[in-house]
Symmetry: C3
Subunit: 263 residues, 3 copies
């Protein structure tokens, strides 16, 4: 289907119609394109959270999908508007670090700064470049406009520091990166790292006051209301409470340490 | 349009991108299918609520629609993944009772346990079968894959008890099944049952401390802030407060008794 | 694309499946039409808010789009169901004032009262005309049904009073009309009015206890946590706090006065 899908990640919420306006702008330029909401509920101006959700979702979309990410606290300043091309996907948004995980996990073919005003809306506001610059760029790209037409090659981009787990002999120290709707506490400890270091040996996982002595295969292996560790759907160690909200039950949150001690 | 529509009912919320991921998986398999959100705001793991919303909505969709329902507290356990075919619709989800109202109201043509791994994603997580099993099944079904290819016939399925109104001479005792966004208290007393038993006689409806002496034709028949009974849009007796939230105003909720006494 | 897009503005929320039902009804009649949510989170029964969001969004959609607005406290009463045709758009909803801004800003070609029951659902509830009357009307219109088939010309419609800024020598007095998800306080003072009256002279903007001495070009011109005035994306004067929620930080809300004093 060529560049037939545009996905949306924003912090616009769903109350004010801002996400709808973006879709209107896109459909006016390319009435054929498929629009898919990933989320509009990123915490206001939380660039890391947007990047994290993007990381977990983009690879499930068809090749040549265009991922539009508008979490843009610097709107109206000199921060650049960019388009990133990787082997299989396109990413459009502000150059504020929101694509850090993409730079980490994908081969970057080209980065373009969106400078060609011919592909902007005629009037550019100071506060809503999602509507005036990013949405039209995504729409024209989906119609086949070439990257070089949309702007100029650029090679230095903004990244945030990815919080990586620290390892020393017998210890992996991670941190809770995200808490989802169910209250699951998603850490930055990848399943592959865990398996490589811990192997088949004994281990203990501690978070807050909880100590968990093994990783379960599914929620149903513990009783209702009991805490457990699992490898979550995005490949990281998660702490959950069966049938309940772990954030509320354990009084833990984003930023809390998760420690694995192994023999 | 054949099997051209897939609807979605989940408890994923809209913050974390889980519903978006499901759509990506589906579009990668069938880029042509129409995706329609019914809701992603089912209370976490509330199977009854999901079944209730499904009951009220599925029949308004085109024939041959595929209704994907992912409220799945038993994910990763031995609960089965099933596909239910009725005269005009398909239903895909966990076998945990979420289709109870469908078994009640529709003629069941076939139930398939989704066992054919050729139609799963290559890697199956322990916590997100919506993405790994249910979404691909819906997508392949929408493309025309036969039911028999997707798995094996199964004939016993899980049901929950539907809370039915109790009737004795001169009394109908029901219960509030659902409270909607507006605070309307939706009971399990069907309009048809009411009309059959009460006919044109006198009656009184009581709920909490409120006593209502007739059923109104519309909200506008009472004053702002006044409680009233109506037959709601899904065919059940509802208690509302004009222009306000009945749950808050009357301090009532899901599970409260609704009693009709008639002569 | 002809009448190929239907947008939706409602106060249904996204929990109960009501918006999904509306989409089902539409797709059953016209499986080809594009459906775009503008918002389902209008405050319950807030006609002004729905009208305000409509005003800010409709013009970004393709010509011949059909805008379905269902915020309908008078459902089931004698309030009319109408279809408004302007030069480039169609609007369908209850005749309760929700289209007031459209009457103000667009040339009205025709207003039709939806009276032809052939285009309603077979059974009309007392509480959900969005499903039973408005959705089918939008769907048939999108398929090419003529306006005259759907009902009868009507010429008097309900309007609400648009709160306009008051001006006297050296003063513009406005009011906060809407507070968005970010807490931005959006006033009713248009950029064009401001520029016409204030020109290049000095001025002061006061709201609550805050006094702002100029209008910034972007959020980044002030420090994190500082209040500022900007011309927002819909062309009105807005009060914001950089990186924070102005409603919470300044303890201000819808209805607060915004005063410009100029020399």
């Amino acid at each position: 289907m060529g560049r037939g899908v545009i996905t949306l990640i924003t912090d616009f919420g769903t109350r004010d119609g801002y996400a709808g306006i973006i879709k209107g702008v896109i459909l006016k330029i390319n009435p054929q394109v498929r629009l898919v909401d990933i989320t509009h509920e990123v915490s206001p101006q939380d660039i890391f959270e947007a990047g994290f959700i993007l990381k977990n979702s983009y690879r499930y979309f068809p090749n040549m999908s265009i991922h539009l990410v508008v979490v843009d606290p610097g709107v109206g300043s000199r921060r650049r508007a960019i388009l990133v091309e990787t082997d299989n996907h396109f990413f459009i948004g502000p150059d504020n670090g929101v694509f850090t995980f993409i730079y980490e996990f994908e081969r970057i073919k080209k980065i373009i700064e969106l400078t060609n005003k011919r592909y902007f809306l005629p009037y550019i506001s100071n506060t809503f470049h999602g509507r005036d610059i990013f949405a039209p760029a995504a729409a024209y790209l989906s119609k086949g406009t070439s990257l070089e037409d949309l702007g100029e090659i650029c090679d230095d981009v903004v990244r945030f520091d990815i919080p990586r787990p620290e390892t020393e002999r017998g210890i992996i120290k991670g941190v809770v990166l995200h808490v989802d709707r169910f209250g699951n506490l998603i850490s930055n400890i990848p399943e592959v790292l865990f398996r490589e270091l811990v192997g088949k040996g004994r281990y203990e996982i501690s978070i807050g006051g909880e100590v968990l002595e093994d990783i379960k295969g599914s929620y149903s292996e513990v009783k209702e209301g009991q805490a457990l560790a699992v490898f979550g759907s995005s490949g990281y160690l998660e702490i959950s409470v069966r049938g309940q909200n772990a954030r509320e039950k354990l009084k833990l949150n984003k930023g809390n340490e998760v420690k694995v001690v192994y023999k």
